[in-house]
Symmetry: C2
Subunit: 131 residues, 2 copies
């Protein structure tokens, strides 16, 4: 005889919200530097990169960029006029190390202040099969 | 004589975290349906679409997709095996209506349950110039 037991609550993804303040303004308006930095942050986190898309906006050369990874995504939006960047790292599975991407981004953008919030996404009841 | 006064706290962006549970599984594994749905959600929110990137993952045909908009981004990651989708709507400026995108996504993916969290991103002190 088999039966399912409702197991512990489990999150399908980890979503790290990273606020980067007092950054180097030149970095925040340099699209190719940001693309290279985010790609390297993905590699350091152990992510498998699938594609990326970056855009520059007038009048302050703010940049929006997203990297799609096999484990979800990493995004950045910059406001050079406020020395501020908003970063998101969405990681599913347990094989990624988003904290390594955070550490790298803080250093490369020369953030004077930063904060992170970690959200658990997709909280479900795991089902355990018993004989 | 001119001087700056530190004004009220101001957020540069609004980030809506949308959890969609008990969705229609067929919708969640249909990449072209999801692309069309997210593009329409962006239009309903009043966003200017710049580009999109969608990928399908084995073994359950989960889909990851991101749409870059002039006002930031909209993303989705689906787990058809759990009838679950994680959606993010990052909107800067005050011209967008992310709640219209939320309403549309809930309806189109036939979500039985959903929840939203709204985060204010990039909280800064606005500076006011006085004579």
């Amino acid at each position: 005889m088999y039966f399912f037991e409702v197991g512990k609550l489990e999150a399908l993804g980890k979503h790290v919200i990273l606020e980067l303040h007092d950054c180097d303004r030149k970095c925040l308006s340099n699209c190719e530097f940001l693309r290279a930095t985010l790609l390297e942050a993905c590699r350091r986190a152990g992510a498998t990169i699938l594609g990326n898309s970056f855009h520059v906006f007038s009048p302050y050369d703010g940049v929006s960029g997203v990297i799609i990874i096999a484990e979800s995504h990493l995004s950045i939006h910059t406001w050079p006029e406020y020395s501020y960047a908003a970063v998101d790292i969405f990681a599913c599975g347990n094989s990624l190390h988003p904290e390594r991407a955070v550490e790298f981004m803080v250093k490369e953008l020369k953030a004077g202040n930063h904060s992170t919030i970690e959200l658990e996404r997709g909280i479900i009841n795991s089902l355990v099969l018993h004989e």
